[in-house]
């Protein structure tokens, strides 16, 4: 970046280029119309300037053809913007199925990142080049927002629920991370750096970490909190067997279904009676206040390992294609 004044930020993710392309189109339309308007005003103002105090020009009341033209043509142009923008947005919204996950917790005024392998970082995030990464994010207090200009990505981080964003870095380097939802006194210091590393450097960085993986911490918690007393990992327990559930549809007592995903696991830990699985009683106590957001993430990661990864076969698990019914006979 340095001394010269750039007009466009670095493109460092797969999405960045497509956002910029859409911006070029928007710029072209904007420049065309604004220059057109400026020149017409300028020309008319000079050409038809008032030459005598008493002149009264003829009335011109309007023209239907013109009105229709300047209604329909801009509308067509904007519909291109809509479709193009929406398709880009959908790409940004759907992480690839196989993207590894990083958990992000925002709190006033810092970012806590947790890699699945167990590495934790504060206000920094190391990523391997070329690998799509999915972030699952929550906040411990107010609304924050995870914004990486070089990736053209941004998502609010809310208390009480998970939000997701993803990106696939395309260029090694060090990029700004900003909190872009106003969050209090030190909002402007809730910033950090994203490091995009060559894969081998990333591996080296990873192996420098300490402590067990998220899932193993979660397994330990699962035992410590006595979850396993009811949630037997066979079908004999008083509570649902958590094996092979992640990513499937679960039927509830009220006849509806819910996707067994991170959000549902989180809700079930903190507010267990909200959505009871069909065939079970609402006997689970809430763990609100007993576990931190980080503990919840560890438990989620452990519960996810109870569902084997689908492996190389297509039609990835985790999507509704694989719909299992769960109810106690």
């Amino acid at each position: 970046m340095g001394s010269e004044l750039p007009l466009f930020p670095v493109q460092a993710s797969t999405v960045a280029a497509s956002v910029d392309h859409l911006v070029y189109y928007l710029l072209a339309v904007a420049i065309f119309f604004s220059v057109g308007i400026f020149l017409s005003i300028f020309y008319f103002a000079v050409r038809y300037r008032r030459r005598s105090e008493f002149e009264v020009p003829a009335n011109v009341h309007g023209g239907m053809t013109l009105e229709i033209a300047w209604t329909v043509i801009p509308f067509g142009l904007t519909m291109i913007m809509f479709v193009w923008g929406a398709s880009t947005f959908f790409r940004m919204s759907r992480p690839p199925d196989d993207a590894p996950q990083v958990y992000v917790i925002g709190k006033q005024w810092m970012w806590k990142m947790q890699h699945m392998e167990g590495q934790r970082e504060i206000n920094e995030l190391h990523l391997p080049l070329g690998q799509a990464v999915k972030l699952t994010m929550t906040s411990e207090d107010v609304i924050h927002d995870f914004f990486v200009p070089a990736f053209r990505t941004k998502a609010d981080v809310l208390p009480g629920r998970y939000t997701t964003t993803w990106f696939q870095p395309t260029k090694p380097g060090k990029y700004h991370l900003f909190c872009s939802q106003y969050c209090g006194t030190n909002h402007s210091q809730m910033i950090g750096w994203i490091y995009v590393m060559e894969p081998q450097d990333y591996q080296a960085w990873l192996s420098g970490g300490t402590g067990g993986s998220l899932a193993s911490s979660g397994e330990k918690l699962f035992q410590d909190l006595a979850c396993a007393n009811c949630h037997h990992l066979n079908d004999q327990g008083r509570c649902p067997n958590l094996r092979n559930l992640y990513g499937s549809q679960v039927s509830l007592t009220d006849g509806t279904h819910v996707l067994f995903d991170e959000g549902y696991i989180r809700e079930s830990i903190l507010n267990p009676s909200a959505k009871i699985v069909a065939g079970y009683q609402p006997i689970m106590p809430t763990f609100q206040g007993l576990v931190t957001e980080e503990n919840v993430l560890q438990l989620i990661e452990y519960i996810k390992t109870l569902t084997p990864k689908p492996g190389p076969q297509p039609a990835g698990a985790g999507k509704s294609a694989q719909s299992k019914k769960l109810s106690k006979q």
């Binding site: 998970y162 939000t163 997701t164 996707l259 995903d261 959000g263 985790g318 999507k319 509704s320």
Partner: protein, 99 residues
Amino acid sequence: MQEHADSIKTYTLVFVALLGLTAATTLVATIDLGPLNVVMALAIATVKMLLVALFFMHLRHSTILTKVVVGGGMLWLAILLVLSLSDFVTRGWLPVPGK
């Protein structure tokens, strides 16, 4: 200027109907109709609202402009509810947390 006076009989009939509908909605609520319970409750409330508006508030004698104003109010309430619900109802359609 007394163009809107309905007879006392009309007002009394409307009043009795309103009381009857209150009893009806209370009773219907105790019967399990599944999702229809909500529909019934709102339908009866809407009928009561119409009775009050049309007769007690003289809406049926009012100018078209007044009717447009009332209709506009209802429409805007619907906009508020429907477009907000377009968010809350479709959350989770995309199997990505927070989308």
